[in-house]
C-alpha cells in the first residue's frame, strides 16, 4: 500500500475566516489523508516552505478576502523558485467564476473548490490527481 496522501491546508494573507479551512482539514483527515494546518496569517513564502518541510503532495489555500488574484500567483511563483512544482496547488473559498477560469488558464492553480462543493468530490479529485502524479509514485 502506498503511503498516505499529505495535504497542507493553509491560510495566507490577513484573512482570518478559518471555518472552511478547518472543516476541510478534518474532512480530508477523515478520508484517510495526512493533513497539516498552517494556522493563520501565512505569507506565500512561509506556505511553500512549510509544504516542502512537511513533504506535502498538495497545498490547499483557503481564501475569502478577495486577495486571491494577488496571493495565489505569488505562491505559484514561490513554488517555481523553490523548484517544488511537483506539489499540487489548489484553492478554495469565495472566488468568482471569472477568476477561477483565469487562475486555471494561467496555470496558477490546478483546481478551485467553491462554496457548496462536496467534500466527497474534493477527496476524489485529490486522490485521482496525486495517484496519477509521477512524483507520488517515486515517493510511494
Amino acid at each position: 500500500m502506498s503511503e498516505k496522501i499529505r495535504v497542507l491546508i493553509a491560510k495566507v494573507g490577513m484573512d482570518g475566516h478559518d471555518r472552511g479551512a478547518k472543516v476541510i482539514a478534518r474532512g480530508l483527515r477523515d478520508a484517510g489523508m495526512e493533513v497539516i494546518y498552517s494556522g493563520l496569517f501565512q505569507t506565500p513564502e512561509s506556505v511553500v516552505q512549510m509544504a516542502i518541510q512537511e513533504d506535502a503532495d498538495v497545498i490547499g489555500i483557503s481564501i475569502l478576502s478577495g486577495a486571491h488574484m494577488t496571493l495565489l500567483p505569488l505562491i505559484r511563483e514561490e513554488l517555481r523558485r523553490q523548484e517544488a512544482e511537483d506539489i499540487v496547488l489548489v484553492a478554495g473559498g469565495t472566488i468568482p467564476a471569472e477568476d477561477v477560469s483565469a487562475l486555471k488558464r494561467e496555470g496558477v492553480v490546478e483546481e478551485v473548490f467553491t462554496p457548496g462543493q462536496s467534500m466527497e468530490e474534493m477527496v476524489r479529485w485529490i486522490r485521482q490527481r496525486v495517484e496519477a502524479s509521477p512524483a507520488s509514485y517515486a515517493r510511494g
Partner: protein, 567 residues
Amino acid sequence: MADALHTDAPGRGPSEVEAARQAFQEALARYRDVLARSQERDALFTTISGDPVEPLYVPDDPGPDYLEKLGFPGEYPYTRGIHPNLYRGRLWTMRQFAGFGTAAETNARFKYLLRNGQTGLSTAFDMPTLLGYDSDHPRSLGEVGREGVAIDSLEDMETLFDGIPLGEVSTSMTINGPAAILWAMYLVTAEKQGVPLEKLRGTIQNDILKEYIAQKEWIFPPEPSVKLVVDTIEFGAERVPQWNPVSISGYHIREAGSTAAQELAFTLADGFHYVEACLARGLDVDAFASRLSFFFNAHMDFFEEIAKYRAARRIWARHMRKRYGARDPRSWRLRFHTQTAGCSLTAQQPEVNLIRTAYEALAAVLGGTQSLHTNSMDEVLCLPTEHAVTLALRTQQVLAHETGVANSVDPLGGSYLVEALTDRLEAEAEAYFAKIEETGGVVAGIRDGFFQREIADAAYRYQQEVEQGRRLIVGVNAFQQEEEKPVEIFRIRPDLEREQAERVRRLRSRRDGEAVRRELARLRRAAERDENLMPYLMDAVRVYATEGEIADALREVYGEYREAAVV
C-alpha cells in the same frame, strides 16, 4: 416535553398560586399605565382587515412563574423585550453594513444609503485597517480596500464622513483590535465638525474576545487588548455618554460554525468578562453597563433564533442584577443589533438568498432586535452591488411597514414551543458558563483553544449533515439547477491599492514629523504606565500619526498575539 407546559410546579399550594395571580394582575396594571404614557409612531396599528392589534397579548391565567420567567416588556427580566411598546414606539434601526475601496468611495455609498431611507451608518474596514497596518505596508499587499474601506489616518476618516453631520446620524464601526485608535479618529473628526462628544451616537464593535474565539483579527495579546476595551468604556462613560463603546458579538462566533447555544453562551460570557474587567478597574457597574450593547446572528432555524434573543435578555438581566449588583434597570437591559447569517447564503442560485435573508430578518424582529442588517444576496460571491444592497434594505422596509409584525411586542411569547426553546437555550448557556469557569475563565479558554474546539466540532457536524444530505440546503444538495445564471459581480478598482498607498506616503511627507514622534512617544509611555490611552490616542491622531504607526507604538509595549492553531 413536560416543562414546556408551564404547569403549576409541584409543591406549590393554592395560596402561592393565588399570590402569583395577584402579582401578575398588579404588574399588568403597572404595564398598562406605562403604556398609556408611551409615545406611539404615526402608523395604523390594525390588521389589513381593520381590526385593532394590541401592543401586547398576555395569558388569562398565567402560571405561577410567569413573572419570573417572562414578565412584561420594559420590565425585569425583559424576556419579552426591553421597551414597553417596542416597535410601536420606534422601529428598529435599519443599518446596512457598507465599506469598500477608498474613503471617498465609501462616503458616496453612505450618502446613497441615507438618501434611500437608511437610518444609521455602518462601516466595514479592510483587512489592513482591522489588523493595524497602513496601506503601504508589505503585508497589506492585495488586501487594501477589498473587504472594506481603507483608513490610514485622520485624513481618511475626515473624507469618510465628509458632508455627513455626525451630530445627527448614528454610526457603527466594525473594528476590534485597533478600535480605540479608529474611535479616536472618529471623535477628532467630530470635534473638527464642531460636534460636541456628548452628542455623538453610535457603536464601535470593539469586542476583542470574540476575535480570538472566532473572527481572528487581533493585534495584541488578550490581556492588554481587554485593557484597551476597558479604556474605551471608561472614556465613553465620562465623555461620550450616548456612545456604545463595545458591541459584544455573537455574530462571528456563529459564522465560524457555532450552534445557537454556543453563540448565546460565549457571547454573554465575553460580556461578563468585560463587566468584571471594568469592576476591577474600579468603575461602578451602573456607570457603564447601560452602554454595553450586543450583536447577534440571525440564522435559518426560525424558532430557535427567536428563543435565543429572548434567553439572552433574561440571562443578562439576571446576571447583571443578581451577580454584579447593578441597581439601575438600564444596566439590566440587553440591547442588540442583528445581522442575518452570511454563512447561510449559497453561491448556488444566489437570488434564493433574498428569501433566506427575509426569514432570518423576520426572526430577528420577532425576537425584538434594536437594529438590523440584512445581507445582500450576492455577499457569498463578492461585496454587494448597489442593486443587491437596495433589495436587502427593501426587505427590512417591507417587514417594517407591510407585514404588521411591528404592531405588538413579543408576539410569540407564550408559544409552548418558543418558551420551551428559550428555557432550553438558557439552561445550555448556564452549563457553558460553568464549563468556562472550570477552564479558568474566558481568556484561559481562548489560550487553550476550548472555544475554538467547541466551534470547530459544531461546524464539522453541520457540514457532515449537509454532505450526507440529512440537512437540505436548497440549490446545494437539493433542488439544484443545471445552468446557473451568471450574476453581476462588484469589483474593486485594481489601481486603488497603489493610490491609497501613495496617499498615506504623501501624508507622511507633508505633516509635522516632530509632532508625530512626540505624540507617539507620549502614547508609549502612557501605555507602559497603564494609563487610560484614549486622550493620548486622540492627540496622536490629531497630528496625523497613521494607524500603523500608532499600532506599532503599542506593539512595542504589548507585543503581538499568536494563536496555537486548532483543527
